[in-house]
Symmetry: C2
Subunit: 406 residues, 2 copies
């Protein structure tokens, strides 16, 4: 009988999988004095996979972590907030390497076993001495209950920590998977200002781990938009340490697909949490595009609507302004014909036959006043579907990003 | 000796060119009671050219006006605000035709001689009876001094009317050219919620008029962005009635290029006025991209920066946040290398060699606090250049678009 993957009601985070410890501490990188340095560690070496920002201006830690992913295995992830270590030149790259090296020394492994992540303001040099000074404490504090503090320590303008976990069985062995993530502003497809760390005790080859992660990121983190900006620091990392002792997954068999399904559930959940916590957001908006010629065109229509400031401000104002929705669908560039396109909000048809539909205004207003709103765009061009998640554009977005902040 | 084209210090608008009359009246389409119906007329039939929105959801008047442009000649432009007549189905198209027909009857010409433009809320049926009832008054009010009222009557959320004029000499004949335009929200390349009406008394063939307009729109209206949205109603129209009695321009000779230069000056001026009057804007931002592989890539980098909400809010906050600028340049998709890219604000180098530069903070703060700010992006990829104009993203943008308004 096929197993059904469901997320745990309460997430167990990155210390759910066997053999993983984590912690977050206050290293003094954030002026606010909040937690700002996190460590995730597995004593048993793990297969590692990663996807990274496609921004040509990539931060120093991205280069370091790509090298580690290329080796196929890793022991730990060290991740700071308060400083992105992006646009910091040779000094920044040296600092990111120092961060890996100091962590490796304290954990008695190789610098090539360390993933480094950073998030925060671009263009400031990393306070590397504060970090190296804090690393012994960080390592000594590692705990099998440390996921919550680790989750806290990677946040920036996020209002809450993103986390999810799930479990399933392979070969009669219990497999655990859990994650922490951050992301709030600068969120858009092809990764975002987003850090996502996933741990699992499944035994799988690095190649298949990378393949599964790639497939999942394309349908999760690459389907969200807060403001259309793509960050310099994004990464999604999975560590799979094999501590569950299932037969190693080294072909695309049914176990692989079950694992991928679980990974998809985790990444989609995190992506939705990130979109819902967009900077200043007061609404969480799901955009389903159906009947497109192919997935790329369905996504294009969904993302164009999600990125439209006019659409986003309309949702902020709880205004069912279908004119802005159909307008954005029209300039997306994908095949579409307004005369055969149907628009729905919360299941209510608001546009068809090229014009506004007659609907129950009171009922629609109730839908618009809710926190979670679903828009459906039914094209008549083909069979493909895509779902995009976004949030509204509010005064608070302008406030958060229009004032100096460090 | 080559003539130098300069704009008139005070614009004479669409009634500057010989033989053109215009007017704007209050037809009751705007709830505010403001001017909402405009007419521009030339007794002598004019060559006509037009460029239109590329949105797949085009408004009814766009279809009607395209037919008129296809005939090569026209007598008049009728244009209303208060209702876009977009997404209004068969009724909307019939209304746009009625608008042309009623105008033609009152002016004793053919409906095929009439350009129809509309702007306002999408999805509401045109109050066509109010318009047809007002047309006799409109026609009777036509005046050689009517440009100011015509300019007023095409506005929506604009805070001022956009206008420009210029004059030059061909064959010893004085050539006049003037324009009115509107556009504020929903402004982005490939046209905008933008109506632009240009009149000139030059004698030129419709084919060459279209060619010149196309070239000018690509370097003016297609280079501005307020919010990245593309409207359903955009059009730029030129009427050239030949009343100046120059030798007909029917080849791409020096007279043609002089004319095109004048048309470029007019359209660039209007484009900049539109960007500066972006909804809620408090800053006018010029983005010069240099050293790109080609014009399209230069434009791509400039438009990506111009469309970044993080960049736009930083300018609102007078924050010289070069991290957001270089980040947007990095995800534009055009060839660029952060290590060889130089960023300047107001001529001050703020980023080079892959990291922030040392600069006079006080001097830069003075530049950031001004209304007009110039950003220069020097790539090291080639010789191509592009200039893009935009504005900041403010609380007022959210206010204007986040509240119901009609």
């Amino acid at each position: 009988m096929k197993q059904t993957i469901t997320l745990d009601t309460m997430s167990h985070g990155v210390t759910y999988a066997k053999g993983f410890q984590a912690i977050g501490i206050q290293a003094g990188l954030k002026k606010s004095g909040k937690h700002d340095l996190a460590l995730i560690y597995t004593d048993k070496k793990a297969a590692v996979a990663g996807t990274f920002t496609q921004n040509k201006v990539a931060a120093a830690p991205v280069y370091v972590s790509k090298e580690t992913v290329a080796t196929g295995t890793a022991h730990a992830i060290i991740s700071n907030s308060g400083c992105a270590n992006a646009c910091t030149g040779a000094q920044g790259l040296a600092d990111a390497h120092t961060m890996a090296k100091a962590t490796a020394e304290a954990l008695h492994c190789s610098p090539n076993d360390i993933i480094v992540g950073s998030t925060g303001i671009i263009g400031q040099q990393l306070p590397i001495n504060d970090i190296t000074k804090a690393i012994p404490t960080l390592v000594n504090s590692l705990s099998f209950e440390g996921t919550e503090l680790a989750g806290k320590a990677i946040l920036t303008t996020d209002t809450y920590s993103k986390t999810a976990s799930t479990h399933f069985t392979i070969d009669g062995k219990d497999i655990h998977m859990g994650a922490i993530a951050k992301g709030s502003g600068m969120i858009r497809p092809n990764m975002a200002t987003m850090l996502c760390y996933i741990t699992t005790d499944i035994a799988i080859t690095p190649t298949l781990l990378q393949k599964a992660l790639h497939a999942c990121v394309n349908k999760s983190f690459n389907m969200i938009s807060v403001d259309g900006d793509m960050s310099t620091n994004d990464m999604a990392i999975v560590l799979a340490n094999g501590a569950a002792e299932n037969t190693l997954i080294d072909t695309e068999n049914s176990d692989f697909y079950l694992f991928q399904e679980a990974l998809m559930a985790i990444t989609v959940s995190l992506a939705k949490q990130i979109a819902a916590d967009g900077e200043g957001a007061s609404k969480f908006i799901t955009i389903n595009v159906e009947g497109a010629t192919d997935f790329e065109n369905a996504k294009l229509v969904g993302m164009t609507i999600a990125n439209s400031p006019l659409v986003k401000t309309a949702f902020f104002g709880e205004d069912p302004n279908w004119g802005r929705l159909i307008c954005a669908a029209g300039y997306a560039g994908a095949p579409m014909n307004p005369d055969t396109t149907v628009l729905k909000i919360g299941g209510i048809i608001i546009f068809k036959n090229g014009m506004g539909a007659v609907y129950n205004e009171k009922k629609l207003q109730d839908i618009m006043s809710a926190h979670d709103i679903t828009v459906t765009v039914e094209l008549d061009e083909g069979e493909a579907q895509a779902t995009v998640w976004t949030c509204d554009l509010t005064y608070d977005y302008v406030k958060i990003n229009g004032e100096y902040h460090t």
